[in-house]
Symmetry: C2
C-alpha cells in the first residue's frame, strides 16, 4: 500500500540537475523504508516552448494529475517570452488548473548555513508562509488589458471560497506546528486592508475562519510593516498567510534570511493534488555545471513525503520526511558540506551524497 506514483518534472536549467539529486534521495528512502515510488517523467518548460510553441502539453498536465504527487524542478527562461512580453510558466498553469491554492513555503534557519541578519536571534527563524496561489493579482495573468499603448490594467481577485480554504489550511498548519513545538500557534494574515477593499474583504473572512480555530491566535499585519518586521524580528512569526503576489515577494525575502533560494523548499497544495518544487528558478547562468545547490529540491521532496504521509496515513512517509530534514541539518551542521551559493565548492552531487549518507541506515 505504501506505493506512490510520482510525476517527475525536471524542467529547464538547473531544474534537471537538482531533480537528479532528489530522485537519488528518494531511491535511498526506498531502500530504507517500506515505501515504493513509481516515477513517471513529464516534460515541459521554456525549451519545449521554444521548440514546439507549447510549454506543457495537455498529456503532460494529465499525467501530472494522475500522479499521487508531483515533483517539479524549475521551468522558464528570461529570454523566452510570449508575444505580450510575459513568459511561459507551467508551474503557474498547474497551480490554477489543479487548484493548488496553498503555496506553503517554510523558512527555517538550518544550523551551519550562514544567516543574513546580524542578530543572534536569527538562528531561531522558523516560520511558515502560506501563499495563496490560485487568485489574488495572479488571477489576472494572461488577462491584463493594454489600451491604445496608453493604459494597462491587471485586476486582483479575492474570493470568499479560496480565502476560507487557505485560511483553514493555515490554521490547521499552525495547530500541527503547535503540537510539535508544544506552544500555542499564531496565524498572521498579511494584507493591505487599510487601503484596499479586496484586502478588507480578505481580512473579514480570515477572522470569520479564525473563530472556528480558537486554539490558534489570529493576527493581522500590513504587508509593508511585515517587510520591515521580517528584517527586525522574523523569529516572532509562526504561520503567515497572504495573497499570491505578496506571498511571492515575502517568500523570497524570507529565503534571503536563511541562506537564499538554494535552501528554500515549497509545496503547492490543493484538495486533490500537490506539487513540490524549490522556490528557485532555472538559473541559466550556472546551469549545466553541476554546481547548483540541491537542498531546496531535497527539502521539497521531504515536504512531499510529509504530505503523502499525512494524506495516506503512512507512518513510513512521515518518518522518511523527518529523516531527510534531520540529514540536511546534520550535513550542514557538521560544516562538512558547503555549496557554491554560500561560498563553498561542493557540487550538486556531493551535497546530495552528503545528505544521503546521513539518512538513518
Amino acid at each position: 500500500e505504501n506505493s506512490f506514483r510520482l510525476a517527475i518534472m525536471p524542467g529547464d536549467g538547473i531544474g534537471v540537475e537538482v531533480m537528479e539529486a532528489a530522485t537519488a534521495v528518494l531511491e535511498a528512502i526506498e531502500k530504507r523504508h517500506d515505501i515504493g515510488f513509481k516515477m513517471e517523467r513529464v516534460n515541459g518548460g521554456a525549451r519545449q516552448y521554444q521548440e514546439t510553441g507549447v510549454a506543457m502539453t495537455e498529456e503532460g498536465f494529465e499525467a501530472a494529475e494522475r500522479a499521487d504527487a508531483i515533483l517539479f524542478g524549475a521551468m522558464g527562461s528570461p529570454d523566452i517570452r510570449h508575444p505580450d512580453g510575459t513568459e511561459p510558466a507551467p508551474q503557474l498553469d498547474m497551480r490554477f488548473r489543479m487548484k493548488l491554492y496553498a503555496g506553503l513555503r517554510p523558512i527555517r534557519a538550518i544550523p551551519g548555513v550562514p544567516l543574513a541578519l546580524a542578530s543572534p536571534r536569527a538562528s531561531e527563524i522558523d516560520f511558515a508562509l502560506v501563499r495563496e496561489s490560485t487568485e489574488g493579482l495572479f488571477a489576472s495573468r494572461g488577462k491584463g488589458i493594454v489600451t491604445d499603448d496608453k493604459v494597462a490594467t491587471d485586476t486582483m481577485r479575492i474570493t470568499r471560497d479560496v480565502t476560507e480554504r487557505v485560511s483553514h489550511f493555515s490554521f490547521k498548519l499552525a495547530e500541527r506546528r503547535a503540537r510539535r513545538r508544544k506552544r500555542k500557534g499564531t496565524v498572521t494574515l498579511i494584507d493591505k486592508s487599510n487601503v484596499f477593499r479586496s484586502f478588507a474583504f480578505m481580512r473579514k473572512i480570515f477572522f470569520e475562519v479564525a473563530s472556528q480555530h480558537p486554539d490558534v491566535t489570529a493576527a493581522q499585519h500590513s504587508i509593508d510593516a511585515t517587510a520591515l518586521d521580517l528584517i527586525r524580528r522574523p523569529w516572532d512569526f509562526d504561520v503567515m498567510v497572504t495573497e499570491n503576489m505578496f506571498g511571492d515577494i515575502l517568500s523570497d525575502l524570507g529565503a534571503g534570511l536563511v541562506g537564499g533560494m538554494g535552501f528554500a523548499p515549497s509545496a503547492d497544495i490543493g484538495d486533490d493534488h500537490a506539487l513540490f518544487q524549490p522556490c528557485h528558478g532555472t538559473a541559466p547562468d550556472i546551469a549545466g555545471q553541476g554546481i547548483a545547490n540541491p537542498v531546496a529540491m531535497i527539502l521539497s521532496t521531504a515536504m512531499m513525503l510529509d504530505w503523502l504521509g499525512a494524506r495516506h496515513s503512512s507512518e513510513a512517509c512521515l518518518e522518511a520526511a523527518d529523516e531527510i530534514e534531520t540529514a540536511v541539518d546534520a550535513a550542514f551542521g557538521a560544516g562538512s558540506v558547503r555549496p557554491y551559493d554560500i561560498g563553498g565548492s561542493d557540487g550538486t552531487g556531493a551535497i546530495a551524497r552528503a545528505i544521503i549518507e546521513r539518512l538513518a541506515p
Copy 2:
C-alpha cells in the same frame, strides 16, 4: 527671494511630536542662512475624521496647494475606519490630487546607527527608491468592488504618461547622484513583467525612456528577486523605480536594513507640488511620550530644502539640506545620541537638539 511658504501638517500621534523637532531645525536654519520660512499650519488626520467625518477639508487641501512645499508628520489610526473597512489616509489623497507621482525614499546607512545585516558591506548601503505614487494598485483605492460577499476585486492601472514621468525623474536622479559620487549611475526597474501585461507594458516604456538617458545604465529586476537581493546585496543598488504597491513594500524593507522607520525620510514629488514626510506612521503605542525618533522627519525636511534649492536655484537651500544631513551623521557617528527605537534613551527633543547643535554655526 529666499522666502518660502510651508504648509505644516503635523497630523496624528507622533506626527505632532516629530513635526515640532522639524520646525525647530528649520528655525535654526533660518538663523544661519539667508532663508525665511512662512509656516502655515494645516490640520487633518484620523482624529479630525473621528470628530468631523472628514479627515481633511477642502480648505486644508487648498492651503497645502498654495504652499511652496508641504511638511507632513503622520496621519491615521488603525482603529478609525471607513465603513468599507479601509482607513482614511489624507497623504494618499494628496498624492493623487496633487499628482505627486515620484515617491522618493532614500535608503542610506547612517554611521553609528545599527545595521540589520551581518555583512560588513552593509555600511555601504546607499540607494534611492522611487515609488510611483499616483497609480499602480493604489489607483483602485476606494474603487474596489465586492460582489455578493463572495468576490472582491481591485484593479492595478499603469499609464504611459505617468510611467514616462517617473522614469525620467529616476534617470535624472541617477544623473545627479552620479555627479556627486563620480561614477556612472544605474536605474533598475522593479516589476513582475514575466507574469503581468501591465508590468510588461511598464517595462517597455521604461526602456523607451532609458534610451533618452544614455549616460545612465538601465536595468530590470523582478520584485521577488529584488526582495531577496535587498537582503543579499543591497549595496549594489543605486536608483530603483517601481510601481506604487511594490514601492510601499520595498521602502519598508529598505528602511529595515538601515535602522528602521525612525530613520526613513521620504518625498512625494510632482511637477507642481511636493510633500515631505517620514515613512513612519502615527505610532499610537508610543504617542505622547516624547520618545519618538525625529530623524526621519528631520531628514525629510532636508529633502524639502534640497528640492526647494533645485527648483528655485537657491544655493542657500541646497547648502542647508547638506548641512542637516551632515549634522545627523555627526550626531549619530559620535555615538552621542541614541533614540528609543534603537535601544537608547534619548527623546525626541534631545535628538533634535543634538542635530541642531551640530549644524554649521
